[in-house]
């Protein structure tokens, strides 16, 4: 179910996510304490390449990481194997990527 490549990919994406999660939590606390409104937050994020890169990277890492994790759970719990498991994992990864990047684009670019 997990080969060396998938194992490394999951660990590397975890390493990428860790500082991004800390950054996101710090940002949320800052935004709430300062009493920023939705409009004020959007004013800061719209057109910002750094925020697009920050959350875009997070979405890519989450999509890969979660899809590999779900692959193992589905494989062990439902006994799916082979091509079916590959297709399900890739489909879940694609769903997270599309949904996540769409949200990031909405907040930063559109």
């Amino acid at each position: 179910m997990l080969t060396l490549r998938l194992f490394i990919l999951q660990r590397v994406t975890a390493l990428i996510m860790a500082p991004l999660v800390v950054g996101h939590l710090a940002l949320m606390i800052y935004a709430i304490r300062g009493g920023l409104s939705t409009g004020a937050i959007l004013a800061r994020t719209q057109g910002s390449w750094p925020w697009a890169l920050f959350y875009g990277t997070f979405v890519v890492a989450v999509s890969v990481h979660a899809a590999i994790g779900l692959r193992v759970i589905v494989g062990e719990a439902l006994k799916f194997r082979g091509a079916l498991l590959d297709v399900l994992s890739l489909a879940f990864c694609a769903f997270l990527l599309i949904a996540g990047l769409r949200a990031v684009l909405s907040v930063t670019m559109l």
């Binding site: 179910m1 997990l2 080969t3 060396l4 490549r5 998938l6 194992f7 490394i8 660990r11 193992v72 494989g75 062990e76 719990a77 194997r81």
Partner: protein, 241 residues
């Protein structure tokens, strides 16, 4: 036999690969009695058709492992008094292995995985060469020594929830064996072993739950060996091992 305070109420699983059920036996309680003693008594005094496996009776051969009250144990070294629930004890074949008959499991899948994990020695010398000298304090030798006393009892394999969820998984014993060879400077195919344990069902499927180390009767830590394999295969992937 009358059921009294000196009698054990023993449930023994009877059946084969197609299924079975527990059967109850009353066995006289004795001092220092082991679970294997109980099974032998039933087979010799009540039902000669009871199938089970044992050899050395002293915890060396690894052939008498069974599930006792739901936990895998070496029955020749398991005292009845330590596992008794009231007067009851339940004995079943090991989990995660096909049953041949009653308490005897088919060990073929277990040992086939040792071969799949390249858990075989790959010599580099012949009998005509000098014996290679290995320092007992060499770090790799220390790592191998910590894992080398496996008696192939399959208790770790039966206790492993990952094996249960993923029958392709090589399991703690085969990977522990592979780890001893990865650390054996006399073994000539280190990279082949690392490659073998990196395939589908390899060491990276371990969830690090640690049942293997909890139940190993020889107090080995296959989970530590598997962590070592994960580390070395990762190093090898990045060209550092």
């Amino acid at each position: 036999m009358a059921f009294g305070s000196n009698t054990l109420d023993v449930s023994v699983w009877r059946g084969d690969a197609d299924g079975g059920k527990f059967e109850s036996f009353q066995v006289p309680s004795q001092e220092s009695q082991t679970i294997l003693d109980v099974v032998v008594w039933i087979q010799q005094k009540i039902d000669p058709s009871l199938a089970y496996r044992y050899a050395c009776r002293v915890g060396m051969c690894g052939s008498c492992a069974m599930s006792v009250n739901g936990q895998p144990r070496w029955t020749c070294r398991t005292h009845v008094q330590k596992v008794l629930r009231g007067r009851r004890v339940e004995i079943a074949p090991l989990r995660n292995l096909p049953v041949i008959k009653d308490l005897a499991t088919d060990m073929d899948p277990f040992f086939e995985k040792w071969v799949r994990a390249e858990g075989v020695f790959h010599p580099t010398l012949t009998r005509n060469d000098e014996i290679a000298r290995v320092s007992p304090v060499d770090q790799r030798r220390v790592e191998a020594d910590a894992a080398v006393e496996c008696i192939n009892c399959a208790i770790c394999y039966a206790s492993c929830d990952t094996v249960q969820g993923n029958p392709d998984y090589l399991g703690p014993a085969a990977l522990n064996r592979a780890w001893t060879l990865v650390n054996d400077v006399k073994d000539g195919k280190r990279s082949s072993i690392l490659e073998a344990v990196s395939q589908e069902g390899g060491c990276h499927n371990c969830h690090s739950q640690g049942s293997c180390a909890k139940f190993c009767p020889n107090e080995l830590s296959p989970i530590t060996s598997i962590a070592g394999l994960k580390r070395e295969t990762t190093k090898s992937f990045f060209g550092r091992g």
